[in-house]
């Protein structure tokens, strides 16, 4: 009932409470900043015309949004032509080649050939392609909210592409594990990540075995991952599963719970690369005892016991609260108000973790629309670059340059080694070096801006930039400074580039 009232308030552009209401255009721009990667020129107006809540509903129903232009662009990316088995084979060859060169270099004392040959080069290039693909999708997909959620979950269930086999496991993780479930049910996503080879390798579960267990045959490939001769349970995944993926650090679990969860996942592993590197359950490695987690008894039941645990964790109140608060930090404010978090938790509870229902609860919460939160959040580097590209009408190409730009601003995609993923908060992204890099990025993107015509009259030029790039939200101070800078510039091309560069690199555009 509450959410319907809130929806009606928004539909009539009456923000609840005493604060002055957002205009329909401001509401649309706000929604585009948070639920999409910023507005393309004119988009705030077109969304306002459709009605912001109707637009949000369309975005939640992503499968019914035609996206043919993106589909055409995706065909340029050869990484999408390879499945996990292809990549696994190529990776194995590259590793063998590198080891051969290492042995040669060690034998001859000459490492120069190693540097020249770079057997892993292909994987570095594929990694770059994967990053650029993320940028192309975020920039041009019509299914904007889904792309935002893909980024959110990729970060929530972070996997570091630089860790060994994850160099070849990450593409299928993104394509097959995260993307199809980004607007689905949390529980399904959680199970899919738990079973994904990428996560099994990243958090070492692939090598976690019951103490004293031994494989029926030789097991050299499994040993490679890490703990070597001394084998037993590995708690890494179990700990991060509860601390980061589900309950949260204050979620009430104990070290004994961590150990018991690790025991439940013993045997969850990865096939050898020449068999496709898919998920495999090794019964021989599984801890056959019964386990207790958070006071709940789990009878030993092979692989199913882990699935039951994941479903149990996915629907704990602590999980609902932890993940909802994280969603609200992304969509509402770095320190989200309780109201929107409570609304999200209620929707989660009611729908058994339907992500779309949870998102709907957040965007119909009055907290989402209060003027205090509007344009009060700093964009992450990825959001900043993609929103600038969209506003300036720049077509992202398949070279890694935009991905490199995002990396220079401090957020190299898929390259966060820590399982926490990247932070959502301003303090993490704003430092003097990163800000200078944002200014540089603004200047570079401005050179390719196609969304602003050349105009001789400076006041008109600045007004166009304000309207088309920022939906009329440019601050008077920014306008004044840009106009001052233009006074001695006669060439309209130069004036445009300078003005757009200052606008994109300036403080207003850093916010969403």
């Amino acid at each position: 009932m509450l959410s319907i009232v809130a929806t009606l308030c928004v539909l009539t552009a009456q923000a609840p409470g005493v604060a002055p209401a957002l205009t329909p255009r401001d509401s649309a721009f706000h929604a585009l900043n948070r639920l999409a990667y910023g507005a393309r020129p004119g988009e705030a107006d077109s969304v306002a015309k459709v009605g912001v809540m109707r637009w949000i509903e369309q975005q939640l129903d992503a499968d019914h949004i035609p996206d043919s232009r993106l589909a055409a662009r995706e065909r340029e990316f050869k990484i999408l032509d390879y499945d996990r088995a292809d990549l696994a084979g190529r990776y194995r060859d590259a590793v063998q080649e590198r080891q051969r060169l290492q042995r040669e270099a060690a034998a001859t004392g000459d490492s120069s050939r190693m540097r020249g040959a770079r057997p892993m080069q292909e994987f570095r290039e594929l990694g770059g392609e994967l990053q650029q693909l993320a940028i192309v999708r975020a920039a041009i997909s019509e299914r904007q909210l889904r792309e935002v959620m893909v980024d959110f979950w990729t970060n929530h269930f972070n996997v570091f592409v630089g860790k060994g086999a994850d160099r070849f496991l990450l593409p299928s993780y993104i394509e097959e594990t995260i993307r199809p479930r980004a607007l689905g049910r949390f529980e399904d996503l959680l199970i899919a990540t738990a079973r994904s080879p990428a996560m099994l390798f990243y958090l070492d579960n692939a090598q976690s075995v019951a103490p004293g267990s031994s494989p029926p045959g030789p097991l050299s490939a499994l040993r490679r991952g890490g703990t070597g001769v001394r084998r037993g349970i590995n708690e890494n995944y179990a700990r991060e599963l509860m601390e980061l993926h589900t309950l949260g650090v204050d979620g009430g679990y104990t070290q004994q719970d961590v150990i018991n969860v690790a025991r439940m996942f013993t045997g969850w592993s990865i096939e050898q690369p020449d068999r496709g590197a898919g998920f495999v359950f090794h019964d021989w490695a599984h801890d056959q005892g019964d386990k207790v987690v958070l006071g709940q008894k789990f009878k030993s039941d092979g692989e199913d016991e882990g699935i039951r645990l994941l479903k149990f964790l996915a629907n704990q109140h602590a999980t609902m609260h932890h993940v909802s608060a994280k969603l609200c930090a992304r969509f509402v404010a770095d320190e989200p108000p309780d109201g929107c978090v409570d609304a999200a938790v209620a929707a989660w509870q009611k729908t058994h973790g339907d992500i779309r229902a949870v998102l709907r609860a957040i965007v119909t919460s009055p907290d989402f629309w209060t003027p205090q939160v509007v344009r009060a959040k700093v964009k992450t580097p990825f959001e900043f670059v993609v929103s600038a590209v969209r506003a300036a009408g720049v077509e992202p190409d398949d070279t890694p340059r935009l991905a490199q730009m995002v990396a220079r601003l401090g957020e190299p995609l898929y390259q966060q080694p820590a399982p926490t993923g990247y932070a959502e908060t301003e303090a993490h992204w704003v430092n003097s070096g990163a800000l200078l890099a944002r200014m540089n990025a603004g200047l570079v993107i401005a050179k390719e801006c196609t969304s602003i015509p050349m105009i001789d009259d400076h006041a008109q030029l600045v007004d166009q930039i304000d309207q088309r790039l920022m939906a009329g939200t440019m601050s008077p101070h920014t306008k004044t400074v840009i106009l001052e800078q233009l006074t001695d510039i006669a060439d309209p091309q130069q004036a445009k580039t300078l003005a757009v560069g200052l606008a994109l690199g300036g403080p207003d555009f850093q916010k969403q």
């Binding site: 290492q102 080694p417 200052l502």
Partner: protein, 420 residues
């Protein structure tokens, strides 16, 4: 003309700030005797350079306990043969790839600290690195790094944007926090990347004015620090840098980073703490012995440190370089001729203030009953005691309790890394 106007604008902005408009900035404006002097004189200013060997370096093959029989028994394939070890004191020796550092050992400016590490038993890289950088082993929720907390609490030097610099695209955890610190990926490219100087100055000024109007938030204060840094670097003009005495840094990222740190220190812009990563130490497979994987990494490290030392010359009398790594590796080699995640490791301290020419810390021995959990080198020096000693005795920190919450590094536990 442009420049003097810029300085005028900046100074008046600072005056405004020091009347109390920006709480974060105020204390720094109050304690700012150094700023005005920066291009004129070089006061004594101790500097600390930290290198994080990410991936957990094998301390036993870096500083080799060649006098210990167990070392050879446990590592039949990867131990450094006694003939190859560069002996230091009859019991320990350097990996042969670190031979370039022997000279520094001999002149007493290089010390090794053995069996140092974390009281937390984690063998997760993530957790252990995090603990070493936050300075709070076992506590994951710590938001800031210990180097930043030092800067927060010892503010009397805090007057330059270059006080704490992390080399890399992102600010490392160790420098994260409320005290200003700077991430520099490439010194040459720091600031606006506009080829023409006049255009660059103009754009810099324009952005500066834009951000001056951004109020008092983090965007405003961070941008102010950024522009100040650009201005100081411009005056210092480090673009034409040539290392002293024909020193050549080894190729690769580490050499390039140390060269830039040397450059920044010599530019006298007020560096107090510089931090850089140096990766590739997670040697689970084919670690190698005198040659091989680890040897290659150590060679680069040794050459880079030796070059840095020579390049800075006299200035090394004010500098301490400290290596650190999240944990050590197993005493016994594994089935893949490598080593797995262990516990204590070794760290190197280099520089004039270092009490060099000795292996510091209590050596626990490698006997089975002396090991941690029956397999790893036991920790006899909590890393906070080592870091704390360097902060207190070298940088002059006065409040170590605030730097390492929940722990007070005690002088009685200091290993004596810094000369008295």
């Amino acid at each position: 003309m442009t420049i003097s106007r810029r300085i005028f604008v900046k100074d008046s902005a600072l005056a405004l700030v020091s009347f109390g408009l920006d709480p974060l900035f105020l204390p720094r404006a109050v304690f700012s005797p150094y700023r005005r002097l920066s291009s004129l004189t070089v006061p004594y200013r101790p500097e600390l350079v930290c290198l994080f060997q990410r991936g957990a370096v094998d301390g036993l093959n870096m500083i080799v306990p060649h006098g210990e029989g167990a070392y050879y028994q446990e590592r039949p394939r990867i131990a450094i043969p006694a003939n190859d070890v560069v002996d230091l004191d009859g019991h320990f020796g350097l990996h042969p790839s670190l031979a370039p550092l022997k000279e520094l050992w001999d002149n007493k400016s290089l010390a090794a600290i053995h069996a140092v590490g974390s009281p937390d038993s984690t063998r997760s890289h993530f957790d252990a690195q995090d603990y070493m950088e936050t300075g709070t082993p076992g506590v994951k929720s710590t938001a800031d790094g210990w180097a930043n907390r030092y800067c927060q609490h010892d503010r009397e030097h805090a007057d330059t944007p270059f006080r704490a610099v992390g080399f890399g695209p992102q600010l490392p955890r160790i420098l994260a926090g409320s005290a200003p610190s700077l991430a520099i990926d490439d010194l040459q490219a720091f600031g606006l990347r506009v080829p023409q100087e006049a255009a660059r100055d103009r754009l810099t000024r324009a952005f500066e004015e834009l951000y001056d109007g951004a109020g008092t938030g983090l965007l405003a204060s961070s941008s102010r620090e950024g522009f100040e840094a650009v201005q100081m670097l411009k005056r210092a003009n480090p673009t034409q840098y040539v290392p002293a005495g024909g020193v050549e840094y080894p190729p690769g990222r580490l050499g390039k980073t140390l060269l830039q740190i040397a450059q920044l220190i010599k530019a006298d812009v007020g560096v107090e703490i510089a931090f850089a990563d140096c990766s590739g130490w997670d040697t689970h497979v084919n670690q190698g012995s005198s040659d091989g994987q680890l040897s290659t990494r150590l060679r680069e490290l040794g050459l880079a440190l030796a070059a840095f030392n020579k390049d800075l010359g006299e200035r090394m009398s004010n500098i301490v370089v400290l290596t650190m790594s999240e944990f050590g590796r197993t005493i016994r080699e594994n089935g893949n001729s490598g080593t797995d995640h262990g516990h204590a490791t070794a760290m190197l301290a280099l520089g004039g203030p270092v009490n060099g020419g000795r292996v510091l810390g209590r050596w626990p021995g490698l006997g089975v009953e002396q090991r941690f959990e029956g397999r790893d080198v036991a920790v006899t020096t909590d890393f906070r005691d080592l870091f704390g000693e360097i902060l207190a005795r070298h940088l002059g920190a006065t409040d170590l309790g605030a730097v390492f919450p929940g722990y007070v590094p005690s002088p009685t536990r200091f290993v004596g890394a810094i000369r008295g």
